[in-house]
């Protein structure tokens, strides 16, 4: 049976990018692949939207980028999480858990 993909809630893309990069240095395409992999291919992300997200995170100092050569011998830009980014990810995970918990509690209320 085909799995239906879910759209992302606003504000969650940045957190997912940080999470993907917490597992290692990746280029933009790799970030998308990693998100698909860790979400069990359940999230629907327009691939182009990853890049403004990555640039925003770099602007905030949470990720750092540098040009290098990819596995297929092409020039690619690789991103890695900074120390500030790692802290931000922890904060966002905590906020997300609180929000998800509160929403579930509200939905289960009878």
């Amino acid at each position: 049976m085909a799995k239906s993909k879910m759209g992302l809630l606003q504000g969650t893309l940045d957190m997912l990018i940080l999470k993907a990069l917490s597992l290692g240095t990746l280029h933009g395409y790799g970030v998308g692949q990693r998100i698909a992999q860790i979400s069990g291919d359940a999230l629907k992300i327009e691939e182009g939207s990853l890049y403004p997200g990555l640039y925003r995170l770099e602007q905030r100092g949470w990720v750092q980028s540098e040009w290098d050569i990819s596995d297929n011998n092409q020039r690619a830009k690789f991103y890695k999480l900074t120390r500030a980014g790692r802290k931000q990810l922890i904060l966002e995970e905590q906020n997300w858990e609180r929000l998800a918990g509160a929403t579930m509690k509200a939905l289960r209320a009878s």
Partner: protein, 157 residues
Amino acid sequence: MGAARGRDHEGTARELRVKTMSRVRAAINSIRARLHHDEIAREVETELRFHIEMRRCANIEGGMTPDEAQRAALQSFGDFNRVKSSCCEIRRSLPFNTGLLRMGLHITIAGLAGAAALWTVNTPHHNLPSLLSQLGFVAVLTCLFVVARRNKKLHRQ
């Protein structure tokens, strides 16, 4: 307890240092992006094209024909030009709110205009050219202030 507090202070100082360094790096990137506009646009384009190429190869490996693979890669990427211009825009923006900086500039210009006006009123004028030059100075500062205010209004719109 004192040692724990000392460690807390050390941790906070380190966090502040990391945050400041990140901001400084982002500010340098943004200034570079403003100065080398074309280079940044080319860099962004190379990066986005790399993504589409990777997706195209994956699609071919998945069994699509090269044409189908290219079409599907472009479709799953979304609006290329919109993504490119958003990325360039983000690279050019400063990593902090420039409102305070602009406010400071307005206050400085207004202060200088006020001081120049006082100086004009309180200085005895022995000849017309010196009076005109002082009035000209005040007029230039006032114009600068008006232009700065107008820019701020346009920016808000």
